[in-house]
């Protein structure tokens, strides 16, 4: 038990996490590419049309993965934030900071593809509906987090302020998720949920799940990459960063 704990915490220091992340990134890139290619093939080439929405429904293949990721990344960010507040570890703040831009982009993609789907199906790009509004608030939370961290010079204080914002904002995630149940909204209910059979044909479902996996792997890869940059920046002046810089020079 004790041994296992020690092994875990070994990777909680930036200097041992840095090379580990460097080794993991190519794998996540490869997985994102493979899942992405398979998902696009199923979703755009093989899947049949939808009897109600025609070919317009194909937006689902990126709309749902982007929306899921926008919520999931926020939860992971809040998790790191809580860890940082509780244990004051250096890594947590770096991870939260690395995740925020990708989360913001996913929230943007969710809203963008939603608007392009809403126009032909509902006749409008945007409505102030519970689901759409709470997702917009999520985008603002990400932007607020990034702006708040950028505004505070001392990184440790920036982490703390960001962490509080991330934790308070996480109330919004269940609101987004359950908004279609709690309020009478224009947005349709969940196509896929844990406690009932999915309301989709299996080929469409597979295409969507593969693309969701691809978005997931992509997010991990790009967040780890950004985390490595943040580590170098914040730990500059330490011996391990100097060694990394020397190795970079050799290349």
């Amino acid at each position: 038990m004790n041994n296992r704990l020690i092994n875990w915490f070994k990777y909680a220091s930036p200097q041992s996490f840095y090379p580990l992340a460097g080794k993991m990134i190519p794998w996540f890139v490869a997985l994102a590419t493979v899942f992405g290619a398979a998902g696009l093939w199923l979703g755009l080439a093989v899947a049949p049309t939808d009897f109600q929405q025609g070919e317009g429904y194909r937006i689902i293949f990126i709309h749902v993965p982007a929306s899921w990721m926008s919520m999931f990344i926020y939860l992971v960010m809040a998790f790191w934030a809580a860890l940082g507040l509780a244990y004051n570890t250096r890594l947590s703040g770096m991870m939260a900071q690395a995740l925020a831009p990708t989360g913001a982009l996913m929230a943007f993609l969710s809203l963008w593809t939603g608007a392009l789907w809403g126009k032909p199906m509902w006749g409008t790009w945007w409505v102030w509906d519970a689901r759409l509004t709470s997702e917009l608030i999520l985008l603002f939370l990400y932007i607020g987090f990034i702006a708040l961290q950028a505004a505070i010079d001392d990184p440790r204080r920036a982490d703390k302020a960001g962490a509080v914002l991330a934790l308070v904002g996480s109330v919004n995630i269940p609101i987004i998720y359950f908004s279609v149940k709690w309020w009478n909204t224009l947005h349709q209910g969940a196509s896929v949920s844990l406690n009932k059979a999915p309301a989709m044909a299996s080929i469409m479902l597979w295409g969507m799940l593969l693309l969701a996996l691809s978005f997931w792997m992509y997010s991990i890869a790009v967040a780890l990459y950004r985390a490595r940059t943040i580590m170098l920046e914040r730990e500059r002046g330490t011996e391990w960063v100097k060694e990394v810089l020397q190795r970079e020079g050799a290349k």
Binding site: V46, P48, E55, I59, I62, L109, Y225, T229, L232
Partner: protein
Amino acid sequence: MNIYWNSFADFLAMGGYGLYVWGSFGVTALVMIAEPILAVRSRKSLVARLKRQARADRNKEQ
């Protein structure tokens, strides 16, 4: 696993929803290409900056 489309033109037209479908997939592709490029760029500029600083520090010591 047969391809659903009869022709490439059908594929592009997306049954009249081409603008919406390709507008969604296109912007997503753009974002997913631009984000890694920006991340690589900011890392490269940071590494260059830190190296310059290290060189300046070494010169000062001498």
